[in-house]
């Protein structure tokens, strides 16, 4: 299976992206095209550059070399108002949910609507409550503060915030980290449901294989700064790639020698 499939007019594409921190090369020329409406999951061990890849894709970090395209347009160096306009197409669920402690749940969910899109508060609240309902949270949660919620509920609120403005691309950063298996599965189901409902493109990073199998149409494996394998989720068990085999079976021995 090729690590770089040929995709005609991808929604999102990272081309030849390189990034290093000091002498440590994190990404050594990564190519990741993602087709419109597809869900790609990037797996890999800790410290292999998954988070950096996601941050570069969403524009939180600039690559040392290479480019990022959205709808065929080079957005690598986009800043200021242009970047903010582009960001309005994006939604992101952060690993720790990243909810603002000083705002209520509905204000968190409606943050983009009230602060960037100029939506009036009553309408924003209505839309936030509807988004909360879609992730299985009742309207009485809307008035609570993030500190009053469990980890699983915070993830749901983060997901509601990511989808409330109906983005074209959603990024998921380790969506099940810190959750018990049941809550993790609930979040995975909600992700699949929301991505399908919106018909959007999704890029996730995780090292939770159960999550990767559930939310991804395709899986790519990042190791040592390179995409070493990419293919449909259904073929992950028969990849024939020693890195993938070692990773999905969680073996200590094999070609991946990073360790802790």
């Amino acid at each position: 299976m090729s690590a770089v499939p040929s995709i005609e007019s991808p929604k999102l594409e990272l081309k030849g992206v390189k990034k290093r921190f000091g002498s440590k090369v994190v990404l050594a020329g990564v190519d990741i095209p993602v087709a419109r409406g597809r869900s790609l999951v990037i797996i890999g061990g800790s410290g292999q550059g998954k988070s950096v890849t996601l941050k570069i894709a969403i524009g939180l970090m600039r690559p040392d070399a290479g480019k990022v395209f959205v709808d065929g347009q080079d957005v690598t160096r986009l800043g200021g108002a242009g970047r903010r306009r582009l960001s309005s197409q994006f939604g992101m669920l952060f690993q720790g949910a990243a909810l603002f402690d000083s705002l209520s749940v509905w204000e968190n969910v409606a943050f983009r609507l009230t602060n960037a899109d100029g939506v009036k508060r009553p309408e924003a609240r209505e839309r936030a409550v509807a988004a909360l309902a879609r992730v299985g949270l009742k309207s009485d949660v809307a008035a609570l503060y993030p500190g009053e919620l469990s980890g699983g509920m915070q993830k749901r609120v983060g997901l509601a915030r990511a989808v409330v403005a109906e983005p074209a691309i959603i990024f998921f950063d380790e969506p099940t980290t810190g959750l018990d298996p049941i809550n993790a599965d609930v979040i995975n189901d909600l992700i699949v449901e929301q991505v399908k409902r919106l018909g959007c493109t999704a890029v996730s990073i995780t090292h939770d294989m159960a999550s990767a199998r559930k939310i991804g149409d395709e899986i790519a494996m990042l190791n040592d700064g390179h995409i070493v394998w990419r293919g449909p989720t259904s073929q992950i068990d028969n990849s024939g790639n020693p890195y993938v085999d070692q990773f999905i079976h969680g073996r200590a021995t094999g070609p991946i020698t990073g360790g802790v």
């Binding site: 939180l60 970047r83 903010r84 960001s87 952060f94 720790g96 943050f111 602060n115 990024f171």
Partner: protein, 257 residues
């Protein structure tokens, strides 16, 4: 290590920091002076920086005014000039101690709080979240704090001036045998608008320094909880040093008037 290389490296590091700080301040000022303004954030900061600092600034001012009065009375006595104590207290408070002490109290209370809050937001990806929500962190976090501090510190200084002079008055009347109404009249007749005005201008500059140091160190915090702690310390220390440096420069500038 080669000492020349060490000096060169630290000089380059200082220049790099000065450049980064200048760029940061420029972005902050640009965000503060152009729409959109996050009014809710601005009002919240007015409360946090202004209202909640009143007790600490007031207490500092009253004790400083009282101690200043005692010192000037003792010093003035060496020249048989005890009677000019009210005027000297008023001048010392309005031109120097009011703005500097209010600013130092804010450096301890506000710079630290801003650095800790923004630093924690950096550590927990809140600042990244703002960007992904199409919100400029400079407009949402930095600009309201800069604006609020620049506007509020002169008001706090005015309060400190009044309380400081009142502190001097109370000591003078209670234990040094001064007549209360003559003390007030002497102070009022002596003070010029510029004595108070120059202190308020200083306070505005100090307010900018206090908020800038908190925002800069918090925004650039790295390394988790330890990084946030470091940012807090750096914010307070650098704000205090810059307040003293700016005080000298502004006093030099104003002394020609």
């Amino acid at each position: 290590m080669n000492p020349v290389r060490a000096v060169g490296r630290s000089s380059l590091g200082m220049l790099q920091t000065a450049g980064a700080l200048t760029l940061f301040a420029g972005r902050g000022v640009a965000a503060a002076l152009s729409p959109p303004v996050f009014l809710g954030q601005f009002l919240r900061q007015l409360g946090q920086i202004g209202y909640f600092s009143l007790p600490v600034v007031g207490l500092t001012a009253v004790f400083t005014g009282a101690a200043l009065a005692l010192n000037i009375y003792t010093g003035g006595g060496r020249f048989n000039a005890e009677q000019i104590m009210p005027q000297i207290v008023a001048l010392g408070i309005t031109r120097e101690l009011g703005p500097v002490l209010a600013a130092l109290m804010l450096a301890g209370r506000v710079s630290a709080a801003i650095a800790a809050e923004i630093g924690a937001m950096r550590a927990t990806e809140h600042i990244d979240a703002l960007q992904t929500l199409s919100t400029d962190p400079f407009r949402y976090l930095v600009a309201p704090r800069l604006l609020a501090a620049v506007l509020v510190l002169p008001l706090l200084t005015l309060v400190a001036d009044i309380i400081g002079i009142a502190g001097g008055w109370s000591v003078a009347v209670a234990s040094l045998g001064f007549n209360g109404s003559i003390y007030v009249k002497n102070t009022w007749d002596f003070l010029q608008a510029w004595d108070v005005g120059s202190g308020l201008i200083k306070a505005s500059v100090f307010g900018f320094i206090v908020a800038l140091m908190g925002c800069y160190h918090g925004y650039n915090a790295s390394g988790g909880a330890r990084g946030v702690g470091r940012a807090t310390t750096h914010a307070v220390v650098s704000a205090a040093i810059l307040i003293f440096a700016a005080d000298y420069l502004l006093t030099s500038l104003f002394s020609h008037k």
